[in-house]
Symmetry: C2
Subunit: 244 residues, 2 copies
């Protein structure tokens, strides 16, 4: 049976999704819980890597098992075995060829920026505190240049190999509610640190260091040096993964 | 100079406000920061004790100093010396006889309850997860019995000495927004664990274990056994302290 899980997690205490030697990861923690519940060794396939400190509201993963547990019982059994900062809130049987990574066609991320004089004792875990005033109108204007298909190599950190650095952005919205600015982005896929670099670039625009009118040119230059900084991980949250 | 500070904190990692031997407290952490900034030994007076795990949105404290730092510079200097889960967002010079504890005339607390099937990976730090369905109409009905002046000894944990156990509740509202129930209470003061025991009692009402019609009688009985459980600390937040 191919089991698909929906997870929510607070990434603050984890070294990202993917299992690694130096530190506890979400994948390892969930894998251990699944193995405890099923009594089997499993391969846990995640919908993608999230960096250390990044959160997820609806992360999708799957595993194959011969355990006879009814799929809808997994959330209860797993939550009893998981720490409180990782929650399984859904499980179902997927088609046999469903693969949380390869079957994904679209992802939505949200980045939160706290834009005010003083930081926040709670949001410090879930948002980037920018003290200087940001012009969200300009950020919104700059966002339009990212829409559509582009080679985003200038908006990626090195260190991961991919077949192509071309990605398509379906939507990119910048909105403000009181002191909180939200960058909401949906695309067919994202390069390593791409959402965080796009956010860092939009913050440069909002702070007046970059001009919205130059954005198309900066993207076309494919030059990492011309884009903004990589925004901190803690502000980023994977909201949704879409499958065919 | 008598300096009054406004603090916000995430109480998760602290053993409450008041300095104690077994564990790091908010008072100790802020006192150390103030002493680092002023270069003096200070007595830091807080508006009240908050328990381990309880949060505060606007906690008031004060200290006397002969340092010549302009009051409005304290937030910047203190935040540089404080961990990210404690934020100073305001400071001013208070009258010489201002005492954050003794001058307080009214306090407002908010308790949050997440009422749904599965827990939340982020709210697990800031709300009490109640899986069984709660009837907020009944909770609202029961809340009315708490208004006014009562001897609340039946809604207090033992372990603290006070002159009187009579307190006055000015308002107590129970509201629901989606899965989140908020208990919002304002009074002239609260006994040890009083807000948490009132909340635990309202949850018993919401779950059908207690009848709203019996609430006045339960309060009048002054019997701790007849009230509900002490709701967990993490759902509680001190919202505001009022001074004359």
């Amino acid at each position: 049976m191919n089991i698909k899980l929906n997870l929510q997690y607070d990434g603050t205490e984890y070294h990202g999704w993917q299992i690694q030697k130096n530190g506890v990861t979400v994948q390892e923690t969930v894998k251990n819980a699944v193995e405890k519940v099923t009594g089997e060794n499993v391969t846990l396939i995640g919908c993608g890597r999230t960096d250390a400190g990044v959160h997820a509201e609806n992360y999708i993963c799957n595993f194959h098992t011969s355990a006879s547990i009814p799929p809808d019982k997994y959330p209860y059994a797993l939550n009893a075995a998981l720490p409180s900062d990782i929650v399984c809130f859904g499980a179902c049987e997927a088609q046999d060829d469903f693969d949380a990574a390869r079957s994904a066609v679209k992802k939505r991320y949200v980045y939160r920026i706290l834009n005010r004089e003083f930081p926040d004792a709670i949001l410090c875990r879930y948002a980037w505190h920018c003290r200087h005033s940001l012009d969200t109108e300009k950020m919104h204007e700059a966002a339009a240049a990212f829409l559509g298909e582009h080679d985003f190599i200038g908006f990626a950190s090195s260190g991961f190999s991919v077949k192509t650095t071309v990605r398509e952005i379906y939507s990119l919205d910048v909105t403000r509610k009181d002191d909180l600015i939200t960058v909401d982005i949906t695309g067919n896929g994202f390069l390593y640190n791409m959402v965080r670099i796009i956010t860092g670039t939009l913050v440069s625009v909002g702070g007046g260091k970059l001009d919205p009118a130059d954005m198309a040119d900066i993207i076309a230059s494919r030059d990492r040096e011309r884009a903004g900084i990589t925004a901190p991980a803690k502000g980023l949250c994977l909201k949704e993964v879409y499958y065919r």
